[in-house]
């Protein structure tokens, strides 16, 4: 590619310098301070105790579950949406619910999942006893998936939307089954959209906080919750920053991981 539109990077670089590099520097600096503001590595030692390592692992496990189910539900949704009439209107209607305040929607979920809520009322019609759905792994993953679905659908929709339909016809004409066409033609062509979707789901899922308390009753503790607590309750910015440093390192690692699967593309 001959074009060099480096000039367009200038505002972006200013943004990175001010709002990414500077805060990271601050976090790295704080992570080396103890409660009295003295220099120490104790926070890092502390991170490698069993409590924080277990937390990191569970955090990962839940983020993985959430991303998996979000993708599982979002991909077919995006695919079907591209086939509807007025597809852009439908897409907008997917996004609009995320404009209503999350805390309010969470309160609504507390009501919906409740013992006397609509779901249990519905189950009772079929003769099931009311069960407490709240504060279980199920309700936590469900609400998290709910939160992330629009973020996953949007990039996948965009990559599906502009796909050249003749490729699919060609594949079908050459005798490929619908599944083979999907696996060998459609999915590889939309992999960039899927990756964007995973990035905006998996990484924030590691640092989910509010719904860990409201929906999971603090029985799920993510790295985000721990940072939140260190900053706001323990007032230990050093330890909070240390966990944040690890979160950022994990993010780098997961980006490397998603990058290796990339085939071809342009230079």
């Amino acid at each position: 590619m001959k074009i060099k539109s480096k000039a367009s990077l200038i505002p972006y670089i200013i943004w990175i310098a001010l709002f990414v590099i500077a805060p990271i520097g601050l976090i790295a600096y704080y992570s080396l301070l103890d409660l009295n503001g003295d220099f120490t590595f104790a926070n890092y030692q502390n991170f490698f105790t069993s409590a924080y390592l277990t937390m990191t692992l569970t955090s990962f496990w839940y983020a993985f579950l959430i991303t998996f189910f979000t993708l599982l539900i979002a991909y077919p949704t995006a695919y079907f949406l591209t086939k509807t009439k007025h597809k852009h209107l439908w897409l907008m209607l997917i996004i609009i619910p995320s404009w209503i305040n999350l805390l309010l929607k969470t309160y609504a979920f507390i009501g919906i999942f409740g013992l006397y809520g609509p779901i249990n009322a519905f189950l009772e019609v079929f003769g099931f006893d009311p069960t407490q759905i709240l504060f279980t792994d199920f309700s936590f993953v469900f609400v998290a998936v709910y939160v992330f679905i629009p973020f996953m659908i949007l990039p996948i929709f965009n990559s599906l939307d502009k796909m050249n339909p003749s490729l699919i016809y060609a594949s079908r004409d050459l005798g490929a089954s619908a599944w083979t066409t999907f696996r060998r033609v459609i999915f590889p062509l939309t992999i960039d959209g899927v990756k964007s979707g995973i990035q905006v789901t998996f990484i924030p899922a590691l640092s989910l906080f509010m719904i860990t308390r409201l929906i999971a009753g603090n029985k799920v503790i993510t790295l985000g919750t721990a940072i939140e607590q260190q900053f706001l309750v323990a007032q230990n910015w050093g330890m909070g920053s240390t966990i944040a440093v690890f979160l950022i390192l994990i993010m780098f690692a997961s980006m490397l991981f998603t990058r290796t699967s990339k085939k071809g593309g342009r230079v």
């Binding site: 007025h86 997917i94 309010l104 009501g111 502009k162 964007s196």
Partner: protein, 264 residues
């Protein structure tokens, strides 16, 4: 040309939509509750809507929230799109990866960390807390999502298009305006709407960087939790929801009609 949706696909989409909208309709349903809570529905009333219109402070906060969201969407989209175009134009693969990694840092950082560090930043450089600091922060944390939405479109764009345009004597500016932007437009719109979402949803960052009487709806709602969220907030959400859906529907039908007119 277009293959039709099978009934199974229609049912699938219907379920997704029902689930997405269930909590919102739940909220709106209880905004008509005379009981005063979101628990048991006692009787129909419009008093909570009346309360919204009587409360100037709440309406001003709502307007603030919308202005910040729209401007955030606008500026974050401009900077983010230019950034994505720039990143793709980088020859050096390492440099490109460095940018992408830096880009994602704000997405992974918990809100409290972002909020606290921005607060320190603003007080250090002496930005007055209020509208400006909130807007700048929202733009800052929305840029990465715009980049992530635009990037796939940039990557899949056929380089031959750009090369051809350049060979035909187009200037770089022309290439950007006439070739690149129209092609990546869906990504740009996606980025804009995601930035809107981020801005409307944010509580923690706004909380830290706001001041001098400036407030947004999220900050207001979160701080109500201790004493109980009043149904006035449900009512205001209901109004916002209905107006948004209305505006989107009208806008869509106007634009699609004019498009059709052009085609004919």
């Amino acid at each position: 040309m277009r293959s039709k949706l099978s009934p199974a696909a229609k049912i699938y989409l219907a379920i997704v939509f029902v689930v997405l909208y269930a909590p919102i309709f739940y909220l709106i349903f209880y905004s008509f509750n005379s009981g005063g809570t979101m628990n048991s529905f006692e009787g129909f009333t419009l008093e909570h809507y009346q309360a919204v219109f009587d409360d100037n402070r709440l309406i001003v906060i709502l307007i603030n929230t919308i202005i910040v969201a729209l401007l955030t969407g606008l500026f974050a989209t401009i900077i983010g799109t230019l950034g994505a175009v720039g990143i793709v134009s980088l020859r050096n693969k390492k440099m490109r990866n460095v940018f992408l990694s830096l880009n994602n840092i704000l997405i992974v950082s918990p809100d409290v960390v972002i909020g606290a560090s921005f607060l320190i930043l603003f007080t250090m450089i002496g930005v007055k807390l209020g509208f400006a600091s909130v807007l700048i922060s929202h733009i800052a944390f929305s840029i990465p999502i715009v980049v992530l939405m635009v990037l796939p479109k940039m990557l899949e764009m056929n380089t031959n298009l750009i090369d051809a345009a350049l060979d035909l004597g187009a200037s770089k500016r022309d290439v950007l305006m006439r070739v690149i932007l129209p092609y990546i437009k869906p990504g740009i719109f996606a980025g804009f709407f995601m930035a809107l979402t981020y801005s409307l949803d944010d509580f923690a960052v706004t909380f830290f960087v706001t001041g001098n009487g400036f407030s947004t709806l999220s900050v207001e709602i979160y701080s109500m939790a201790r004493a109980g969220i009043s149904l006035t907030v449900n009512a205001i959400s209901g109004l916002v929801f209905v107006i948004t859906v209305g505006v989107v529907a009208i806008y869509y039908f106007i634009t699609s009609r004019s498009k059709k007119a052009e085609e004919v």
